[in-house]
Symmetry: D3
Subunit: 181 residues, 6 copies
């Protein structure tokens, strides 16, 4: 039994004729994201593709049934289906992620600045088996702030003396962390 | 006694001087819709007219006191005062419709995808007299999905076997409906 | 030809069975306002009527086709169809008003603190005929602040010296106004 | 490899101490739904469980990895993880469904009145194999209106003459449909 | 002890590296306003500066610790830190004002059309000393409508007969006011 | 020159009479928070005080001009004017904080889960002088998550092996940190 995404294919079969044939202003129904605005104009979020040029491919992305590569330091892999990888999600306020975990792998402490799952959280696979999670977020562009990276890997670097006091760590430990992240 | 739209005329008399004379960024007070964006740029909704070029006509549309033509198959006529016909409504979250009904006419089952009156509903005039309704919707662009048209008139057509099972109709009845809508 | 409100009657015929029969949590579809909360509890807005007790009357209010009495100082009359007079509008973000104008009558300068028609505006009937307007507002409870009443009729009264300076009026003129509003 | 929900378990481990120990008003972080309000009070949505009584079980529901029973007329099964089945989702604006399809099964035309996937849509499995979809919706309580049920199964029933004209069906066909839904 | 704005400087030090290094679509985190859109395109609000060109200066404005000049008719001075003077506030839904009052000075009756502090209000310094207030508003562009200016200083002018009836003032008093505002 | 909060006093003088005398449903204008709901009922946010019992004190909190005590480990002090300390702010979407800094003091890395200033940020006073900041946040209840406390001070504690891998710290360093926060 395969994992199939019927959603995009069939939603589109109703959406496109509707928009093209009967609704004079479809941009509030769908607004397929475009990444390269003309003339260096920017808005909060993304501009929409010309509705006349929208196709089924704008609403489709394969791979939801494929495990990610977890052979890394933390033993996990996040595959995101958000506005950056599936432009048809733009303005819909929704996205999905697939997270694969190696045995004893973790998705380290993080927050999502633009979704309701916004407190600091993490997941840890406490078993000898691989594991997988499917998660939904309340934004097409939830973002992710991995705590350790943001604090110790900031560029330009935060003054190690400041971090030393904030985290009650020896300043040399902080300096060492800043080389790792 | 005539039905007169004083709203647009007088609101404007205050709005325009305010925006022009004292508010350096009036675009959040009004954003008169423009239909033909330059350079094929699109946003969710509509771009605004240059505030300096806004005039009273952008906030005015006559005809609210005129009955629509109900000599059609369903015996009703909807006259919409929304962002497509009255561009000054853009971003205001409001629109009006006048609905005229012939005797025994109906506004068939439909939904509005972008307004709170969003369950499937219809109106039927059960009398031998003409009737009229004035309705307000909580969007400048509420949209309308007429159920029968969307299901049986979709282009490209939905597979009649699918609809046959969904509606428990003989497949030939479905095929016949698809020729009508 | 009579003005008939079909909306409430028929929307209800679909809404109620839907909510009762198939939706386990209908309160986000409709929330008929109740005015007298038990136990002196208050929320921003209004509590909902028990969905099991909702009837067609909660969505119906007659009088939209009746002229208001304009024999008053300003020569106008506002008949409001909002959450206070039509409780089924609660949480729907929409309301209607009928405004009748005597010849040369006015609806004096005012704002609506909870609706997008929120700049100071007024209407004036510059003709020898009666007139009528139907207006929609983007809130079930838009409120109205009549400028002259709020400024000169505030209780407790605003210090006349403050108003004298704000409006560049003689302090005795202000005091006189405060007796009128 | 099993499908495991790590989300609820670990989010909770951070959320609860945070709310209990350091945030004096945690109700805007989570508001676990309670179904039986005291004293017949109702709000748009659901009341929250006393934060002091919240436990891990409020954020956990098993079964996401279990296929639903598709031996029914339409050949599909929807397992919903929304506020009604997983109360910890309340106020978070997100829900998930698992949809299983028999060979040639369908999820018939429907809309979601409280989520952005709100146009009429359906899914059909055009293969001889079983299939499964995981979908996310932008509300903890998106609702579902199955078109055929809502139109032909409404209680009280819609006048068959009205539906006959709306759907261009013989009135006896409509009456027959009304006995099936 | 000086009043220093650390906010902008340090928030930026984290924000910029984050946006540049790790987030492919930073425009929902910050959208620095630009005042002169190319090609006469307008949106509700303001376009964003190219994120690659954003600098610390976009988030900084000095002067919060400096008293304004209150030697004017009303004896007050408002220094605004909003999207027009501090472009980094764009889309953040927040602004600040510093208000200085001469002895017995006032900030005359006004409303903010785009912020929750939206009823008519004023402040009056009833003392022989100077005073200062720091206020926050729930919009980066709250706007201000000074009642007396909007009513009596509207351009084009409102018919004095209308205002005479609305404010119960002699028509010559109204005409005189209209020359002052 | 003293820092005086005129806002609450004078806004109230207009608000209260308005609500009491002319607006039948003032709860959308102000909803003064109450902390102890009757009957163990909870909502997302806070219930409102009976509008008839609202007084000027509900909108007033002194201390904005008083420096906080910065003799602590991090050398800073935050005085918050939010819904918990100034109940009249409820539902208004705005709050203020005063932050005092000792020489070389810091407000350590943190986020606000319910306000737009939501990326990780901090402030540091790099001078030998005391300093003060006034900041506004786009929520009456923005919350604060101090990173170090949330990660290393969570109760129940996060498994030190998980944190060791997430932060690339020796597990004994983590265990030591967990005793400090």
């Amino acid at each position: 039994m395969g994992i199939r995404s019927f959603f995009s294919l069939f939603l589109l079969s109703v959406t496109i004729p509707y928009a093209m044939a009967s609704d004079p202003s479809p941009l509030q129904d769908f607004c397929v994201a475009v990444n390269n605005p003309a003339n260096a104009l920017f808005v909060n979020g993304k501009f929409c593709k010309d509705p006349k040029l929208v196709t089924a491919d704008d609403f489709f992305k394969s791979g939801f049934d494929k495990a990610g590569n977890t052979t890394n330091r933390i033993g996990s892999s996040v595959t995101a289906f958000n506005v950056d990888t599936l432009p048809g999600l733009n303005t819909l306020g929704i996205s999905l992620v697939r997270i694969d975990y190696a045995p004893f792998g973790q998705n380290p402490p993080h927050t999502h600045p633009r979704a309701t799952e916004g407190l600091i959280h993490f997941q840890f696979n406490p078993t000898r088996s691989k594991a997988v999670a499917f998660a939904a977020l309340s934004s097409q562009n939830p973002g992710v702030i991995t705590i350790a990276n943001s604090v110790f890997g900031s560029k330009p670097a935060i003054d190690p003396i400041v971090l030393s006091k904030a985290f009650q760590l020896d300043v040399n430990v902080v300096k060492n962390l800043q080389t790792k992240f």
